[in-house]
Structures are given as structure tokens and as C-alpha cells.
């Protein structure tokens, strides 16, 4: 019985990134119409073609219906209740260096464990810090420039590298791809833009930290990463938001382009505010992430999802080129009344393409955790290979764990394997640990960490440590 008490305690732990930053903001009143889109575009001083692109997306969005196929339940979202642009007032006059940035903003990131002063940072990680709708600072830009790497907010890239943006924006996730991607295309605010030139191995990890601060706002960032032939980049993404009673919307789009021979590794630790124990508040996280692999290229998605009231997210890889590789490693933890419907799509088009999917779902409390995946082998994808493993761990008898894998094969030389298991933290395992003097909380955390090990080992070192801790904190109190 004491085990149960410990588990419960672990599940009920608090959200540590739930504070708010009090800065004066320019926030658009809630509502969505063409005027709002024109305002955002003007605020960012965008060229006309971007505005037209946005408006075209808005038109498509108006004709689309909210998708209902996911295993999630929420009251209908009133898109006119959301504010689509919010920026700290101090950012209006575009600070030229970190010294000019409002110290309150810098303190926010420090509190979250992401110091933006370069000397204080872990050498080897460049950060783009996005606060509501704007990018606050991007570190190590000059150093990156030395090797030709471009790392800047998308709003700047539109001006400075219009030919790249024109060529690639929307090339992987078109404007009308799905409901939330269309919404994002219409109102996207800041995000990161990365370009790695031919044959360059990016000298440091790139990272973006997303923070939602203002009440009643949504965040709609858009990230575009282009890895030119033979290049290599590792990109990290983190996110948090204050604790509020309302549901805030986050609808992002991420596009990856891995040109021949390039490798992109994209890691996410998602820790948006998950709502309280009764399911009040929390972020609605509707994200479209997709990458295209050309010949011999590789895209690897790794994600640790612990936050958000609702997670709706399917990082996908289109294996267009021959010999390309797609990977997806995921840990999704839900507790209290969180709902996650997440997974991946691997579309095999080229010959000798390979994909690996490892998904670990942990659900506790009254949460719902679903894996939804698609592996499609097109008739031309000779010798395609896929391996999928989906494991679920249930903690408590009121949660749900689900698996919805779609497997479509149209080529006789392809080999596909899928397996899924469901288990719980067994009394035997707990007993064994406790017998050796390990307290129950630690024991559960060890078991869960062991369960997730295959995914954690794919994360960059700093992230792996953070993810491990996050899981520990999130699970605090869920063990008995």
C-alpha cells in the first residue's frame, strides 16, 4: 500500500516553470481576421509576397474543418478568443545587443536554466530565445557565421535570405496541409531559421527555447532548417509556459530539409504547462513537424513530451531519396488529466530507405496516452526496411494507453516489423529494488528511466540529463 502512496505523491508534483514574467507587452486584442494577419505582417516589416502567402493560407484555413480523428477530447476551441500577437514592449525598438535587452526577460530565461550571456553558457550550444511572438536573442551568431552557418529568427531571415525562404518555406508542410498548419501559415510569428552550407558540420548544437508568457495568447512559431549537401546539424528545442487556468493554444510548424548526404538531428523536450490535477488550464499543443530526406540523407527526431494539456504531434519523415534514413525516438509522459496523441509518419519513397520508430508511452493518473503512426511503403521503394516498437507503461487503473499504428506496404521487397507491448510497474520489480534498500520513489524512477533508456540515449548529453530529471519530477508522487 505504501507503494501506492509513493506513486500518488510522484504523480502529483508541481510544475516548476509555472511563474509569469511581468513585462509590459504589446498584445493584439483577441480575434482572427485578415486585419490581424496584415498587422502581424506589417509589424514584422515583411515583403508583400509573405503577406500574400499568409492570406492564401488563411483562406484555406477558413474552408477547413477541425480534425476529430485524434484520441483527444476538448471543448471546441474559439479561435476568436485567442490573441495572435504579443511582444514585450521593450523589444519594439529592436535591441542591437544582449545588453540592451530588458533584464527582466533575461532573468526569465536564467530562471528556466538558460542563461543567454554567452560566457555563462555551456560552450557548444547556441540559443535562439523566443518569447511569445518575438525572438529575444540569438547567441553565438557571429561564431556560427565563421563556418557559414546561418542561425537567426525567421522574421530576419525573410529579409536577409529571401531566396532561401522563398524556395523552402512551405515546401515540406504546405499552407493547406492540415487545419493547424494552415492556421500557423496564416499567423506565424517568430521561429528559428537554420541553414548549414555544403559539407559543413555545424560546430555547436543549435537550440531554440520557446516561452509563452502573456495570458490569452497563442504561440505560432515556425522553424525552417535546411541542411545542404553533406552537412550535419543537431538542433534542440525546449518549451515552457506559465501556470494559468485557461487553455492556451500552441500551433507550430517545423520543416526540415536534408539535402543529399545531410544529417539533421532534431531533439525536443516539451514541457508546456500541463494543467492542474483537475485538468484546468494547460497548453493545447497542436504541432506539425515534417522533414524531407534526399539521397543518402538522414533525419532523426527525438522527443520527450511531458507537458501540455493536449499533445497532438506527429514528427514525420518523407524518405524521398534513395538510401535515406528516418528515425523517431519518443518518450511521452502523461499524468493527471493530460492527453497525448503522438507518433510519427515514415513515408518510404526511395530505394533502400530505412526507418526506425521507438515510442515509449507512460501514462499515470487519469491521463490518456496514444501512439499513432503510419509507415507507408510506396511501390517504388525497393528494399525498404522498417522497425517499429511501441511500448506503454501504465501507472494506475484509471489511465489509458493506446496504440494506433497504420502499416501500408506496396512493395514485395520491403520488410516491416511492428511490435507493441503494455506493462505496468510491477510489484516484483518494486520489491526487488526495495529489498536492496532503494526507496520506492527512487525505485519507480529507476524503472521508468530504464523503460525510456533506448530513447534517452539518443538525446544530446545536456538534454538527456534534463529529460531524466524532468521525468523524475513529473513522476514525483505517482508511485505507490
Amino acid at each position: 500500500m505504501s507503494n501506492q502512496a509513493e506513486l500518488d505523491k510522484l504523480v502529483r508534483s508541481e510544475y516548476s516553470a509555472g511563474f509569469t514574467t511581468s513585462v509590459e507587452s504589446d498584445t493584439l486584442p483577441p480575434g482572427l481576421n485578415e486585419g490581424v494577419i496584415r498587422f502581424i505582417s506589417e509589424k514584422k516589416g515583411e515583403p508583400d509576397w509573405v503577406l500574400e502567402w499568409r492570406l492564401a493560407a488563411y483562406k484555406k484555413w477558413l474552408e477547413m474543418k477541425t480534425p476529430t480523428w485524434a484520441h483527444i477530447h476538448h471543448p471546441p476551441i474559439d479561435f476568436n478568443e485567442v490573441s495572435y500577437y504579443s511582444a514585450p514592449r521593450s523589444m519594439a525598438d529592436k535591441p542591437q545587443s544582449l545588453d540592451e535587452v530588458d533584464p527582466e526577460l533575461l532573468r526569465t530565461y536564467e530562471k528556466l536554466g538558460i542563461p543567454l550571456h554567452e560566457q555563462e553558457m555551456l560552450a557548444g550550444v547556441a540559443v535562439d530565445a523566443v518569447f511569445d511572438s518575438v525572438s529575444v536573442a540569438t547567441t553565438f551568431r557571429s561564431k556560427l557565421k565563421e563556418s557559414g552557418v546561418i542561425f537567426c529568427p525567421l522574421s530576419e531571415a525573410v529579409h536577409e535570405y529571401p531566396e532561401l525562404i522563398k524556395k523552402y518555406l512551405g515546401s515540406v508542410v504546405p499552407q493547406g496541409d492540415n487545419y493547424y498548419a494552415a492556421l500557423n501559415s496564416a499567423v506565424f510569428s517568430d521561429g528559428s531559421f537554420v541553414y548549414i552550407p555544403k559539407g559543413v558540420r555545424c560546430p555547436m548544437e543549435l537550440s531554440t527555447y520557446f516561452r509563452i508568457n502573456e495570458a490569452k495568447t497563442g504561440q505560432f512559431e515556425r522553424t525552417l532548417i535546411i541542411a545542404d549537401e553533406g552537412s550535419h546539424v543537431s538542433y534542440l528545442e525546449g518549451c515552457t509556459a506559465p501556470q494559468r487556468d485557461e487553455n492556451q493554444l500552441h500551433a507550430a510548424v517545423v520543416e526540415l530539409i536534408a539535402l543529399p548526404g545531410a544529417t539533421i538531428k532534431y531533439s525536443t523536450v516539451q514541457n508546456w504547462y500541463p494543467g492542474d490535477a483537475e485538468g484546468r488550464g494547460g497548453i493545447y499543443n497542436f504541432v506539425t513537424k515534417r522533414g524531407v530526406c534526399h539521397d543518402n540523407a538522414k533525419i532523426s527526431w527525438t522527443q520527450v513530451e511531458t507537458g501540455s494539456a493536449i499533445t497532438w504531434k506527429y514528427p514525420s519523415v518523407i524518405l524521398r531519396g534513395d538510401n535515406s534514413i528516418g528515425e523517431f525516438y519518443s518518450v511521452a509522459l502523461t499524468r493527471n488529466r493530460q492527453q497525448a496523441d503522438t507518433g510519427t509518419k515514415m513515408i518510404h519513397l526511395g530505394k533502400n530507405t530505412k526507418s526506425t520508430i521507438i515510442s515509449k508511452g507512460i501514462s499515470a493518473g487519469r491521463s490518456e496516452n496514444a501512439y499513432r503512426g503510419l509507415v507507408r511503403i510506396s511501390p517504388r521503394a525497393e528494399n525498404a526496411r522498417n522497425f517499429t516498437q511501441c511500448d506503454s507503461l501504465l501507472i494506475g487503473d484509471q489511465c489509458g494507453a493506446h496504440t494506433f499504428p497504420y502499416i501500408e506496404s506496396r512493395n514485395p521487397s520491403a520488410t516491416l516489423e511492428h511490435e507493441a507491448t503494455t506493462s505496468k510497474v510491477s510489484d516484483d520489480q518494486l520489491f526487488l529494488c526495495r529489498q536492496r534498500g532503494i526507496d520506492p520513489e527512487k525505485a519507480v524512477s529507476m524503472i521508468v528511466n530504464g523503460f525510456c533508456k533506448e530513447v534517452f540515449k539518443e538525446l544530446p548529453m545536456e538534454f538527456a540529463v534534463e529529460a531524466g530529471k524532468l521525468l523524475e519530477v513529473s513522476l514525483e508522487g505517482s508511485v505507490g
Partner: protein
């Protein structure tokens, strides 16, 4: 007009026409011929009018198109009393249903009652086709096995659909095996011509009963079959269901098993083969609604030459169904370019104290094995067939009824 609307119109017209014909027949015959069927048909037509035929946007019909139905299949087959189609003999008692019509004399087995009672199955309707089935029934068959009865010999139901032009026949079977009974039933669907067989079968396994169920579908490739099977298990009942099928123009099976009381045990085995532009779609759902039930499913599929095989296996563990143990394995062989296999094993689990696992593979014939056989003078063709038979033989060998196993091996290997 859009396909779903066209189909609905045809289905309603077909059902109305049949109903008129049967009512006139009933007038001529003595009134005792009434067995409540007319009411079932009326209810079916009402439900049908309210329903929408699915298109590919409906999740459950994502991989199966109903386009083949628009050639006029949705009208009743002509009434027939004899048929040229033959079926193998598996021993035991046989009962032949031709184009939805029951024989004049129903068989007699000790402890088993046969009747023409039409049991209302609308509560278990899986799709619009359940209502189409109800609306176009010529007859219905209810089989009740009394408490504690042990029937040694199998009951062999031969269900024939025969016609030269597109049309459909509805078959409705209701089987109740009461507490502590033992019973074996073989549903064997055969036929000729471009017929649509619309079948619904419900099987109730009482407490501690032991039911063996075979569903053999060996109709010709030009036929169509849309069938529904529901199995309801009481406390400690044991059901083994063997489903062997050859794909045809359109084959769709909706299968749902309700494990309503604790201790129920289910074994399900299936083989499906799709060759030469044929289509087979199995949608299986196991509802673990009570604690401590076990289910074990193995399905093997083969697709070649633009054949398409779809498999959806769902395991649903309800809240409170603790101690559930559910397994599902779906292994597939994809033989050639142009063929397609779509498999979706699903788990939906609302309890932590369970053991659930599923596995799916899609692969090809092992080229080394093929080489081995060819190097010993076996032709490529024969080697492929041997390996194909080897792939499914594991399941065929485990069939408890040897006569069925033997016949199935010949039948399935001929289709490879």
C-alpha cells in the same frame, strides 16, 4: 450522384422490391409462415433510410472502396430451391441455405433446436450493411443448444449464393450455446457468379460452454461478401474461432467479440489470401469488458498480383477489466509488385493490470529458402507455392477438425 447516395437508393429500392414479393408470397401461403421476419425487414428499411453508406473518408472504410457494389448488387437474388454448387463433406449434420432461403426441413440433433426465429441484431450493427441485411432477409436461422448438451459431430452450414447477374442474398444466423454445452459449427460460404452475400452471425457462448466455430469463405473470385460476426462470451466460456478466406471482388468481415464475464477465453485464427485483383478486409475487435479474460489471435495473410489485403485488429481493454491477457499477431507475405497489404493492429487500454501485446510483420518469401528448393530441382513456381503453404500451414495444422484442415490445405494451396 455521389456513390454513397447511389448505393443507398439502390439498397432501398432492392429491399422494397423483395419485401413486396415476400408479402405476396405470404398471402398465398398459410398464415403460419409468418415468423416475425416482415417486422425485421421493415425495421431494417427504416434504419437503412437513416444511414449513410461509407466512403473512403470514413476511418473504418479507409482501405476498402464500395465502388464494386454499384453494378447493381444491392437487389435480392432470385429465389432458388436447388443449386449446382457443391461443398465438401466434413462429416456431421449438414444444412444448406440457398440464396438466403432455408430448406423445407430443418435437421434434428438431440439437445439442439432449430427455428426460423429472426433475432434482433440491430443493437450490434457494425455498419449500414447490418441494416441492409435485416431489410433483405428471406429467412433467418436460430440454433439453440440446450444446457449441458455435448454435441460430438459438427453442424455444417453450407451457405450458397448463386446467380449469373449481380444481386445479393442475406443470411442471418443466431447460435446460442447454453451453459456447460459443447458445440461445433462450421459456416461455409460457397457460390458462383457475381453475387453479394450479406451475412450476419451472432454466437452466444454460455457459462462454461465450449464452442468451436469455423468460418470458411471459398466463394469464387467474382463474388462479393460483406459479413458481420459477433461473439458474446459468458463466464469461463471457451470459444475457438477459425476464419479461413480467399479474397474476392470485395470481401469485408466485421468481427467483434464481447468478453462479458470473467474467465472467458478466446482463441482466434485466421488466414486470408488475396491474388489477382481481389480484395479482403478483416476488421477484428476484441472487447475485454470483464476481468481475467484471455484472448489470443493469430492472423496470416498473403497478397500477390494486385491483390489487396487489409487487416485491422483492435484490442479494447475496458476500465476495470483487470488481469486481462490479450495477444495479437498478424504476419503477412507480400508476393509481387502491385499487391498491397495494409495492417493496423490497435490497442486501447484503460487498466494497468493487464498483459497486452501485438506484433505485425510484412515481408516476402525468403530468397534463400527458394534457392534451396530450386537447387533441388523444384520449379520456381512450385517452390513459391510450397513456401506459401508452409507459411500458413502452422495455423492449418492446429485446426482441431482434421477433415476441415485437409480440405483447407488443398483449397488454399490451389489459390496460391
Amino acid at each position: 450522384m455521389m456513390l454513397p447516395d447511389t448505393l443507398k437508393e439502390q439498397a432501398l429500392a432492392g429491399a422494397a422490391l423483395l419485401d413486396k414479393e415476400l408479402q405476396e408470397q405470404a398471402k398465398q401461403q398459410s398464415p403460419h409462415a409468418s415468423n416475425g421476419l416482415s417486422a425485421v425487414r421493415d425495421a431494417g428499411r427504416v434504419a437503412l433510410a437513416e444511414q449513410v453508406f461509407p466512403d473512403k473518408k470514413v476511418e473504418q472504410w479507409k482501405y476498402t472502396s464500395l465502388l464494386a457494389l454499384q453494378n447493381g448488387h444491392l437487389k435480392a437474388l432470385a429465389d432458388k430451391t436447388s443449386s449446382t454448387v457443391s461443398a465438401p463433406d466434413f462429416g456431421g449434420v449438414t444444412l444448406t441455405i440457398i440464396n438466403g432461403r432455408l430448406p423445407a426441413l430443418l435437421p434434428e440433433i438431440d439437445g439442439v433446436t432449430f427455428s426460423q426465429e429472426a433475432v434482433d441484431q440491430s443493437a450490434q450493427a457494425e455498419s449500414v450493411f447490418s441494416h441492409y441485411n435485416a431489410a433483405t432477409l428471406r429467412a433467418a436461422l436460430t440454433i439453440k443448444v440446450a444446457k449441458g448438451t455435448h454435441v460430438a459431430e459438427p453442424l455444417h452450414l453450407i451457405i450458397i449464393s448463386e446467380s449469373d447477374s449481380p444481386a445479393s442474398a442475406a443470411v442471418r444466423l443466431h447460435i446460442e450455446a447454453a451453459d456447460n454445452s459443447t458445440f461445433t459449427v462450421i459456416e461455409h460460404y460457397v457460390g458462383s457468379g457475381p453475387t453479394l452475400c450479406s451475412s450476419t452471425t451472432s454466437l452466444y457462448a454460455g457459462a462454461n460452454s465450449n464452442v468451436q466455430h469455423y468460418r470458411l469463405q471459398s466463394e469464387t473470385p467474382e463474388s462479393l461478401h460483406i459479413g458481420e460476426l459477433s461473439i458474446h462470451q459468458q463466464r469461463d466460456s471457451r470459444v475457438a474461432s477459425y476464419q479461413l478466406m480467399q479474397a474476392n471482388t470485395l470481401r469485408r468481415n466485421n468481427v467483434r467479440v464481447w468478453m462479458n464475464e470473467s474467465g472467458a477465453d478466446l482463441v482466434m485464427r485466421g488466414v486470408f489470401i488475396a491474388r489477382n485483383k481481389t480484395h479482403v478486409d478483416n476488421q477484428i475487435c476484441i472487447e475485454h469488458a470483464a476481468p481475467h479474460c484471455t484472448s489470443d489471435q493469430i492472423f496470416k495473410g498473403i497478397a500477390g498480383e494486385s491483390g489487396k489485403a487489409v487487416f485491422n485488429g483492435r484490442i479494447h481493454i475496458h476500465p476495470g477489466a483487470k488481469g486481462s491477457d490479450a495477444k495479437l499477431s498478424n504476419k503477412n507475405l507480400l508476393l509481387s509488385n502491385g499487391a498491397e497489404i495494409d495492417s493496423k493492429p490497435e490497442l486501447e487500454i484503460y487498466n494497468d493490470d493487464v498483459k497486452c501485446a501485438h506484433g505485425t510483420t510484412v515481408g516476402q518469401m525468403d530468397s534463400q529458402q527458394q534457392f534451396y528448393l530450386q537447387s533441388r530441382g523444384i520449379s520456381a513456381e512450385a517452390a513459391k507455392r510450397m513456401l506459401g503453404v508452409g507459411f500458413i500451414n502452422e495455423l492449418l495444422m492446429a485446426l482441431p477438425n482434421e477433415r476441415v484442415a485437409e480440405w483447407a490445405r488443398d483449397w488454399l494451396s490451389a489459390s496460391l
